[in-house]
């Protein structure tokens, strides 16, 4: 069994998947953005929508990043619990606002800082909950 502890190495790898995931979401939003006014009322419209999204380079960049994420993610899951890996991956919710601050010079409200601290404390608690399982690694 590999119900391993969340080590610094795994934490860093998870952080890398988070960067990739943030990048993926950015790509997907970019690919769907030109269609924001699009009304899908039937199968024909759905086809046109999919065609338009698929012709965007951003969709394919996003999909490549999904594949890479899958490889890293599976490797991580072979080492730790799903109920640990998933919440720890919420780092992207801290990364996205930080990127917005640095690149887009957005202001961060007190509410947002509160949310960021909630997520951080939550991740720390989830990480600490893995410490007891040390003994089962064979």
């Amino acid at each position: 069994m590999h119900k391993g502890k969340l080590t610094l190495k795994i934490l860093l790898i998870l952080l890398a998947t988070d960067f990739l995931e943030t990048f993926t979401h950015f790509c997907f939003k970019k690919s769907a953005l030109p269609e924001s006014g699009f009304m899908i009322s039937g199968f024909q419209d759905a086809l046109i929508f999919i065609k338009s999204v698929a012709s965007s380079g951003f969709l394919w960049l996003g999909l490549t990043s999904v594949l890479l994420t899958f490889i890293i993610w599976s490797t991580v899951l072979s080492k730790i619990d799903l109920s640990v890996a998933v919440p720890v991956c919420s780092f992207s919710y801290i990364l996205v606002p930080l990127v917005s601050v640095i690149l887009l010079h957005e202001k961060v409200s007190a509410l947002r800082w509160a949310g960021i601290s909630f997520i951080l404390v939550g991740i720390i608690l989830v990480s600490l909950s893995t410490k007891k399982d040390k003994t089962v690694i064979t």
Binding site: F28, S36, I40, L77, D81, S83, G115, I116, I119, I124
Partner: protein, 128 residues
């Protein structure tokens, strides 16, 4: 055709459920391999063995389904709203992990998960 808010909310919850199902299929497959990955080289063998398990592909289909619904949601709804509601999937994952995968989700992990969900709701709603 105007898409109602309730419909969008239902769609977002379905992406969360599809995501959870796909993660469950993936994690059970990985558990069944019982692999120990110690080097980069071993990752390739691991991924190939993983890709040969049908369950992984069932998970992949759910993942695609989730992606298509998500793409549609993104073209309709506000990104902040969509992400805040999507945070429910942390709860689904924790529930499924303890009930189906029999992972020991103790109180510390539950509190941490719930804090993460609350934090995400605060972060995403503060942006709208």
């Amino acid at each position: 055709m105007k898409v109602s808010l309730t419909f969008i909310m239902l769609l977002i919850i379905s992406t969360s459920i599809c995501d959870t199902i796909s993660q469950l299929f993936l994690k059970t497959s990985i558990n069944s391999l019982n692999a120990s990955i110690t080097s980069i080289k071993k990752i390739f063998g691991f991924i190939i063995r993983l890709a040969l398990i049908p369950k992984v592909w069932i998970g992949f289909i759910f993942s695609c389904l989730s992606l298509f619904i998500w793409l549609f949601v993104l073209s309709k709804a506000d990104l902040n709203f969509a992400f805040s509601l999507d945070s429910m999937h942390y709860i689904f994952i924790a529930l499924a992990s303890s009930l189906i995968l029999k992972e020991k989700v103790e109180s510390k992990r539950w509190v941490g998960t719930i804090l993460v969900v609350l934090g995400i709701i605060l972060v995403t709603l503060s942006g709208s």
